[in-house]
Amino acid sequence: MSDKEIDETTGVETTGHSWDDIRELNNPLPRWWLIVWYISIVWAIGYWVVMPSWPGISGYLKGTRNHSERANVEVAVAELDAQRADATRRLLTAPNMQAIENDPDLQAFALAAGESLFGDNCATCHGAGGQGFKGYPNLNDDDWLWGGKLEDIRQTIRYGIRSDHAEAHLSLMQAYGAGGLLPRETVDDLVHYVRSLSGQEHDEAAAMRAAPVFQVQCVQCHGAEGKGDQSQGAPNLTDPIWLYGGDAMTIRETLWNGRGGVMPTWEGRLSEEEILALAVYVHSLGGGE
């Protein structure tokens, strides 16, 4: 483009581009804009000197201020811990867990910490509101497998259930069918007996046939009346709450394959005060004993 095209009306050079005969004027950039642009270039050079900027082979140019977001976060976290130190100490030195709930300030601290900890660590399985899913207990109700007292909840969180911790709750539901412990027909009869315990629809004759089997095979954990045993994590079979489901299909599946859900141990992953706060929070969800 050797010849400059000059717009007649304004006398300004055009860019030579034409769209539907509309041509673009090649006006210079506004001076204020240019000045701001030059200032930002100077600013950028100053920024390289002062702030961390260029990457290197093994590290990066740190800048004269030695600024580090990572270090700032560490300082901020340390400050937060210092601010919480007093409440944390009182949480850890409370004579028992009931004392935490009885102290409104301490309870508010534990609930606030517990709520956020629950969201970060527990909600994945138990749901945002602790409502639970199939195989993951609802923490809002008053039906507890391993006990719903403050101290029980704390134990469960700390050691987990069937986790790899030595202190974890271990007992599990045997695979009566798949493991060959009972013949197929007996398992089918037992389904009716179990449903009869919670007053659900069942075949009376089948239930009658299975009653003696239950008294031999199941009483050790679930008790003679089927009310369960919290020391063994055996669910109460007479209430309307089912961890996996109370329909015939699911009960048969449970009997045939057994059950052994796992909750991980939180000892080592959460601090002692965090476990305490979580226990207070879970207890407050409404079903605590």
């Binding site: 009885n102 039906d143 409404g286 079903g287």
Partner: protein, 496 residues
């Protein structure tokens, strides 16, 4: 435009000085884009100038003194009469205390301010601009300082052209120093509205004040210095939207600073002993032009630049007295009156017009609404949030439980014992962790001046409620004052 005035002619009647100047922003020579030409308004004396001094003293006095007024409210609450407490999320205005959820009061105040402005503008033109706008008040103050140091119009124009001598440097430096000091006082007073004034003032000088305080101090110092020092009329003409809006609010019956064309024309110099017959009263002395802070010629008629400050009225009245003609050649008058006089009718002032009646009645209505709102505002606000995860809880005995988070805002500054009742079907039992409960009622205390959040549980016995969402009412009652808040919500009883 000529910068220096030519030698006055002494032949004019009354010893009037005739200035051979064209207004800086005269209607005829005005262009859309041009560099600012400095304006050197000449000092005037008169009734409107005095009124402006009084209003300046009042508005500046209110602005600088208000943060220091104390208003004891009791323990735990600030004793500053006017305070926008961002950290505590409260706004205090003497006996009024506004919480964040009551920000609609601020909307009300803004609506009242806008409507007052509409009404005043419809009645008297831009009197807000001419007398009480901060831009006008501070510019007036800055011009006063300028005049005290550099002298009046002619001296200032001479100084502007003069070479940089020691005297000019001394005058200019002292002017700008005083301007900056005024700017600092302005920024300094502003930040006091947002913190406890005495403690902030102490922290400010110690270097312990919050960053925002220093920031806004610097910002307002800078804007005051630039807007009132060097931009002046440019702010009104180019930055402010109000001159554009005013045209929609005024009409031919609006009292505005008006040059009475019918009386003034044909204009011309008037020598001693000449007759006044067959000519207008305007002697073309241009006293109105050189006194105008906006640099316009009022004789060009109503203009966007005119802020209705009435200084040209004072200047012209002075001349009229000297030449022995009645004052009021420039006066608060209406376009309609010019037409009436030209038609030989009697001029009248019509304050009551459909426009002013409408603005006035809407204003009165909003004011009444605000007074009603402020005098009956609740001292207790309750929000009820029903838990949604899970929507309902099946208990081991077959009963069904719903949980609700109740947030109670207690605006009183003392602890209140409250009763929360869930009014629903018979048999409903209500409880809360750690609180006393009986039947469907929970008793708890809400500490003063805070928001208490409590989770309550409502339980229906087995078989009593199924398959529906049952409407219930959460009633929060203060038995001592009888104040109660009702919150309708639902009880979910099952999925089927």
């Amino acid at each position: 435009m000529s910068v220096t005035d030519p030698a006055p002619s002494s032949e004019l009647s009354g010893g009037v000085v005739r200035h051979e100047v064209e207004a800086v922003n005269a209607a005829g020579t005005r262009t859309l884009y041009k560099a600012r030409e400095p304006i050197y308004p000449k000092r005037v004396k008169g009734a409107f100038r005095n009124l402006k001094w009084i209003i300046m003293a009042l508005t500046l006095g209110v602005y600088y003194i208000t943060p220091w007024i104390r208003w004891p409210r009791g323990p735990g609450e600030p004793d500053q009469a006017v305070l926008a407490d961002f950290a505590g999320r409260r706004f205090y205005f003497f006996f009024i205390e506004i919480w964040p959820d009551q920000l609609y009061f601020l909307t009300g105040v803004l609506i009242i301010a806008a409507l007052s402005l509409f009404l005043a503008t419809a009645l008297f033109g831009r009197i807000w601009c001419g007398y009480s706008c901060p831009q006008t008040v501070w510019t007036d103050l800055y011009v006063w300082v300028e005049r005290k140091i550099e002298g009046d119009r002619n001296a200032r124009m001479k100084l502007a052209k003069a070479p940089w001598t020691a005297d000019k440097i001394r005058k200019r430096v002292s002017k700008h120093v005083i301007w900056i000091l005024i700017g600092m006082a302005t920024g300094g007073a502003w930040i006091l509205y947002f913190h406890d004034a005495p403690s902030l003032a102490r922290d400010f000088f110690r270097g312990d004040a919050p960053f925002t305080s220093y920031f806004f101090f610097a910002l307002l110092t800078l804007t005051t210095y630039i807007f009132a020092g060097s931009m002046r009329e440019q702010v009104c003409t180019y930055m402010c939207p109000w001159p554009r809006i005013q045209a929609a609010l005024t009409d031919e019956e609006t009292l505005e600073v008006t040059y009475k064309v019918d009386r003034g024309e044909p204009r011309g110099a008037h020598k001693k002993g000449d007759t006044w017959d067959g000519r207008g009263d305007c002697v073309s002395c241009r006293a109105c032009v050189i006194s105008c802070p906006m640099g316009i010629d009022i004789r060009d008629g109503a203009q966007l630049e005119c802020i209705n400050c009435a200084l040209c009225i004072d200047a012209c009245d002075d001349i009229m007295k000297k030449v022995g003609r009645p004052t009021g050649l420039i006066a608060y008058d209406t376009d309609a009156n010019i037409a009436r006089r030209q038609a030989g009718e009697k001029p009248t002032v019509k304050l009551l017009r459909p426009r002013t009646i409408l603005y006035g009645s809407v204003l009165a209505f909003v004011c009444a609404l605000m007074i009603y709102g402020l005098s009956t505002q609740a001292t207790m606000v309750v929000n009820v949030l029903r838990d949604r995860t899970p929507p309902f809880i099946l208990m081991s005995d077959g009963s069904i439980r719903n949980a609700y988070t109740v947030k109670i805002v207690n605006r009183e500054n003392y602890t209140r014992d409250l009763k929360i009742t869930v009014e629903g079907p018979d048999g409903m039992v209500v409880g809360a962790v750690g609180e006393k409960a009986e039947g469907a009622t929970v008793t708890l205390d809400a500490p003063g001046d805070t928001v208490r959040s409590v989770r309550i549980f409502a339980t229906m016995p087995p078989g009593a409620a199924h398959g529906a969402s049952i409407p219930v009412i959460v009633r929060v009652l203060d038995p001592d004052t009888g104040e109660e808040v009702l919150n309708p919500t639902v009880f979910m009883a099952g999925r089927e």
